[in-house]
Symmetry: C2
Subunit: 279 residues, 2 copies
């Protein structure tokens, strides 16, 4: 069982990822795919006259401010456009893909944060109409039923709260939760960077190994979106996923390359990266 | 087993439909819901600067001209916005709904029409980039698996062609195909009119019974969207669905009212409407 997450940042081409995912599925591996969609969501939101707004928490984390209208646009793009395209592409390759949001069958159930704090200049404002949250439960029984029947699940935010309200959740953390719930052997998190970089402008500054026991060691480099990827990866490692890799979606054969060790490996224990790649 | 279709025309409020559907599900009935979304799609398409275009075939049928960009907007609204809202509303009522387009698991597989003829003034033009089609197969095994596991499937166009291209299909005909494939006892098709009217401006001109053997008898009144509803209904009747009703989505308890016989009943045989309602 392999869980693959492909991001939705600017400049990501999912074609290679989908080719690899189709190959793995057709070779008999059980694969679950999750995807993002932030860049296209920003474009559509702007075109619809409701441009994206980001908020910074007092602890310095940046996140999308998701009022109800933003949530609707978010669901339109992630669920309606990107998920449909991925399902279509996989179907055209002969893979019986099935798209699901976290709301479908309560696949990703979580808690909405009732209020969010936003730093605005010198002040901290309390926002009450934000629709973001964190995942508490994964309906792995539904995923297993679909996998047993030969389908390839293609998952996307939003998730749903216990009382039935859509919530925007982080896709990388969702991937970590799904990989853990399924007891996956591997989690591959692909984006528009080759992994965790010490210097975001220098691909040669790749951090090859992150110790899940000591995530603070990489905090100076892991900011913003990368923080969520590291958090999702650590959640998976702590949940028992043996092989967790952050890598580039745009590499040649990106999933195969990541599974062969290209990228940033997140793990606990003291195997060398080479041993890990061949384990 | 009951299949309920609720349209997406202007002025339709789905709240009552969802309440009834939730009640039926919670009373232990197996329910499949299909929905439309034409009005919201027109609004979003216009807001995105790609307003809807309709074409009229030489035989006089009007349909949405679905170029690739329209198809993308169509998928965004039907799949991303309306389907998500319906799933969310049902989840908030404690129903474990699961949204699926016709592409997911090849739920609705069909044929894309390679070319479409459009009457423009005195001329008939051949359009080659239309993405519409008709349904040949329903993946009823997937629906049965989900129903057996206690989920309520919420289905929406688009469908998918055999070679894996999204196609815009008519929702009412899709409902007829699904009801037939599932061997449903009843199909209820709800829209912003109380059924087939002899005079669209006069609700009192309701046609209470349509004989599926003689659909031509109602051709003078059944034009445009209503033609598709009659066709979907006849497909279901011919496929063995015993009770097929066209009714108003905005009535009090609309699904219960339709199942009790309010609306236009489509059937074969010569039971009276009263006998049919109590059969």
């Amino acid at each position: 069982m392999i869980v693959v997450k492909v991001g939705g940042g600017e400049g990501i081409d999912v074609a290679g990822v989908l080719e690899d995912v189709a190959d793995l599925h057709q070779a008999g591996r059980r694969v679950v795919l999750l995807h993002g969609g932030s860049h296209e969501t920003n474009e559509v939101a702007t075109a619809l006259g409701h441009p994206p707004k980001f908020i910074t928490s007092p602890s310095g984390r940046t996140s999308r401010y998701t009022d109800r209208r933003t949530l609707d646009i978010f669901a339109m793009v992630y669920r309606g456009r990107i998920n449909s395209h991925i399902v279509e592409t996989l179907q055209a390759r002969g893979v019986n893909a099935i798209g699901l949001s976290g709301a479908d069958g309560r696949l990703l159930e979580g808690r909405r944060k009732a209020t969010v704090r936003s730093v605005e200049g010198e002040k901290v404002k309390l926002l009450r109409d934000d629709h973001t949250g964190t995942i508490d439960r994964v309906n792995d029984a539904l995923l297993r039923m679909l996998l047993d029947a030969g389908y390839l699940p293609v998952l996307t935010p939003p998730a749903i709260s216990e009382d039935g309200v859509l919530i925007n959740v982080d896709g990388d953390r969702a991937a970590g939760a799904v990989a853990t719930a399924l007891g996956a052997e591997a989690l591959v998190i692909l984006s528009n960077v080759p992994g965790l970089l010490r210097d975001v402008n220098d691909p040669a500054s790749l951090v090859t190994v992150v110790d899940a026991h000591d995530p603070d060691a990489v905090t100076p480099y892991a900011q913003g979106r990368m923080r969520a990827k590291i958090d999702g990866a650590i959640r998976a490692v702590q949940g028992g996923v043996r092989q967790v890799v952050l890598a580039s979606a745009n590499a040649v054969r990106p999933v195969h390359a990541a599974l062969a060790g290209a990228g940033t490996i997140v793990r606990q224990g003291d195997l060398t990266p080479t041993e890990e790649a061949h384990a």
